[in-house]
Amino acid sequence: MTPTREVYFNITHVWVMYAILAAALAIFAQGWYGLWRRWRMGQPAARTEPVRARLLRALRQVFSQQTLLKRYRAMGIFHALFFWGFGVLFLATTVVFIHEDLKIPIMRGWFYLIFQSLIVDLFGAFAILGILMAFAHRYVYRAKRLKPDTRDDALMLFVILVILTTGYVIEGLRIELTHDPWTAWSPVGRAAGALLAGALSTEAMRGLHRATWWFHAAVVFGFIAWIPYSKLRHLFTSPANIYFQNLEPKGVLQPLDMEKAERLGVSRLEQFTWKDLFDLDSCTECGRCEVNCPAFLTTKPLSPKALILDLRKYMHSMGAGGAAEPAASVQGEEASPLVGPVIREDTLWSCTTCRACMEQCPVMIEQVPKIVDMRRHLVMERAEFPDDLQAMVRSLEARAHPYPGAQASRTDWMQGLKLTDLAEQPGAEFEVLFWVGCAGALNKRNQEVTRALAQVLTRAGVKFAVLGREERCTGDPARRIGYEFLFQQLAQQNIATLDRFKVKTVVAACPHCFHTLKNEYPQLGGNYTVLHHSEFLEKLVAEGRLKPAASESGAVTYHDPCYLGRYNGVYDAPRELLAAGGGAGCAEPEWNRGNALCCGGGGGFSFMEEKSGTRMNQNRAKQLLATGAETVGVACPFCMIMLEDGVKSVAGEKNVQVLDIAEVLERRTRS
């Protein structure tokens, strides 16, 4: 006898099931149509091509569940069990559909035994295990990132549990009632059957089987109909969102055409791109973004999760025609129904653009560009932004550096060093341009780093030059706060300068300059080979041009700057420099590399007083000091300022120094 089973055993009036299914699918389609009309309100974005590359990448990322397994592993395992369990059950339903409705008899023989019986039976159990873990995580362990719990969250878990367990009840009863000869292939179902058979008569089992079957079918169809109306929609939107992910270098903001743009930034929801709107419906409310957000962790009025959910709620509340007229304070041409009424200004001004949220998001939602888009509206259309940042902007406008009141000049740090300053010697020959950066030139502590780096480069025999007075701010702080206009002015001036001196290779001592020069200047026609000083120094050590001695100091830890690590993936070079020459290695803080916590200096925060909540730099300093290190290695001037201050506040009696990796190397290469 060929192994198989009767699909509609013990069931009559099967057409009723099809009728309910049709109704469920109609509700399902209606829901998606409503969502689709809302996404369509958005502006164009090129996020569909190239199809093949996107598809392969998305399939790999979705099926491996990689982001979920990277951090919070236990819960990643839950999702993987659940994802695979549900996936296999869906395949099994498809097999039934092909077998019964398309009349292609595939549900038989070995395939029936191995896949439709054994594998499905086991994966169903995996899914139950997964759902129980999820229950425990939410209601026993009470994971913070999942708060607040909603009624839907509970209902969803419960419904899924009901679907899975009733499935086993039906399977078990069928096995008992049909005296199924292949029960060895359905261990979980058989156990369920045996349990029920011990308590019930055959007649009762028949009745229970029929009732449970219809109940199960009804709940499943209800579940399907519910998908587009709840976060269950992520079953479809999340993989699609991963397909639509940004393929450009990380953290590159989209330029505005200042001459042609009709509006600057986003003041109404429909001014986001369709992909921005699609992001909102991809959110699974997992909260990974929130618990890694330096602003949220220091009780500032920003949670990346709440930001996305507030936008989503607002999108769902509006008709597909677009935003209702603004109810709020700002009237006239700059009135916004979105910025202020839906997303508060102080929320937008709490973001350091550190990208931790985007790094953690398993479905690749893009929070930071949305925040910058809304900042653009505030800064450029309304000219409303924090006073400290206004002072910074005025300084950038007047003197091309963001430090109002700076006493130093751009060349003060050079005193006593023999350097090639292109502003003074325009014809001098050089191989690499050392991009100092405003913080490196004007901030007292960072001047020491700049000097150390210049000395190390000289020791290695590098033919380098600096721009001296000709260097301007790259425009990074202007761009991150949303002042695209000023960014483009500064960038164009710098590109003209770099091109005038025929610069090909740039070594930047600041990750913010580095990122902007490397990844954003090409947007405006500036194309250079750009390295961060950690990369360049590491190359010099590898080539033997620098031979560092062993470290004599105690344990060292390293803090990953956001714009070096998360933005540009440079994690190893600075660590290798700290380890070069031997000695105490690098003691990793608990949060490191892509998970590193922001020092609180990015996105304009270096120029702003932290007015609300606790201090971000102290939060990070605590993590770094917990390693027991005596030296904190940094690779960014903003991190230097923030962490030196943070370490001083929390280190107490302990003497911990904050050193740039260039300073560490300078000390180890003194002859």
């Binding site: 450029m380 006073d387 003197r399 130093a408 206009f485």
Partner: protein, 267 residues
């Protein structure tokens, strides 16, 4: 309501001290790498006028600047902050201007712009800190002068002007026309222009008035007719001395410190 705001373009006062140079021969500061900015109290004056117009809901503002060709940047900035008109007075036609000359030129321009209800200027320029032009301008125009104002409001037909005194603040009522000099306060920190206005400002033509338009002969302001003469100009030298004071413990050190401070007559 017509408000006139007088702006001066000066060398960036935030130029690092190490980069500041003067030309002792010409008796002027050397520009070097310094940027040119609007004198800070003049920015407060402009902001005060803008706030007055915002609150009144109507009114015209004209910005005036006595300056060389580069001064159009200062006037553009004013246009980007939505003043209605901006006019440059050709400084190049009036060499060696002093405060008296500047006041006469501004007065001539204001007469051309009549009716002008309030004329605003900063309490003093951020380069020479002469603090004369406002008062002299009021004298030239034969108008009341209210100094050290940080806020202005309409009060019926008159204006309520909040001004700084030695004891604090007082509000005076003043009928137009008048001249007002402005000091800085939290309330009149200059605003940032909207980008759209900034770009519009770049498309504006800025008229320039010279001796012919103003009816003021250059010779009447310069040479023997000038009221001020500069004797010399130099950068004062500042020297720092560092002494380490001895002492076994905190008390001894404090005693040493007190003695030293008394010695150099700080205490």
């Amino acid at each position: 309501m017509h408000l006139v705001v007088c702006l001066k373009q000066i060398l960036d006062p935030e130029l690092p001290p190490g980069e500041f140079r003067v030309d002792a021969q010409k008796k002027e500061a050397v520009r070097g790498s310094a940027s040119l900015v609007i004198s800070v109290f003049d920015e407060n004056a402009l902001e005060t006028a803008l706030q007055l117009r915002d609150a009144a809901g109507q009114g015209k503002i004209t910005a005036l600047c006595v300056g060389p060709e580069s001064a159009v940047d200062a006037l553009r900035r004013a246009l980007s902050l939505r003043v209605d008109e901006a006019i440059r007075i050709r400084e190049e036609e009036f060499p060696a201007l002093d405060g008296f000359g500047t006041a006469r030129l501004l007065a001539a321009a204001v007469r051309k712009l009549e009716p002008a209800d309030l004329v605003f200027c900063g309490r003093e320029a951020g380069d020479w800190h002469g603090a004369m032009v406002g008062g002299l301008l009021a004298g030239e125009l034969q108008r009341p002068f209210v100094s050290l104002v940080a806020g202005a409001q309409r009060a019926g037909e008159k204006y309520a002007l909040r001004r700084q005194t030695d004891e604090g603040w007082e509000t005076v009522e003043c009928a137009a026309p008048a001249v007002v000099s402005v000091t800085n306060d939290d309330a009149n920190q200059p605003r940032i222009p909207k980008v759209k206005d900034n770009m519009m400002a770049f498309r504006r033509q800025i008229p320039a008035w010279g001796a012919a338009e103003l009816g003021v002969a250059a010779a009447s302001l310069a040479g023997p007719n000038a009221a001020l003469e500069f004797a010399s100009l130099y950068v004062p030298k500042s020297e720092r001395q560092c002494q380490v004071l001895g002492g076994e413990n905190a008390e001894e050190k404090a005693a040493q410190m007190a003695k030293k401070l008394a010695e150099i007559q700080v205490l």
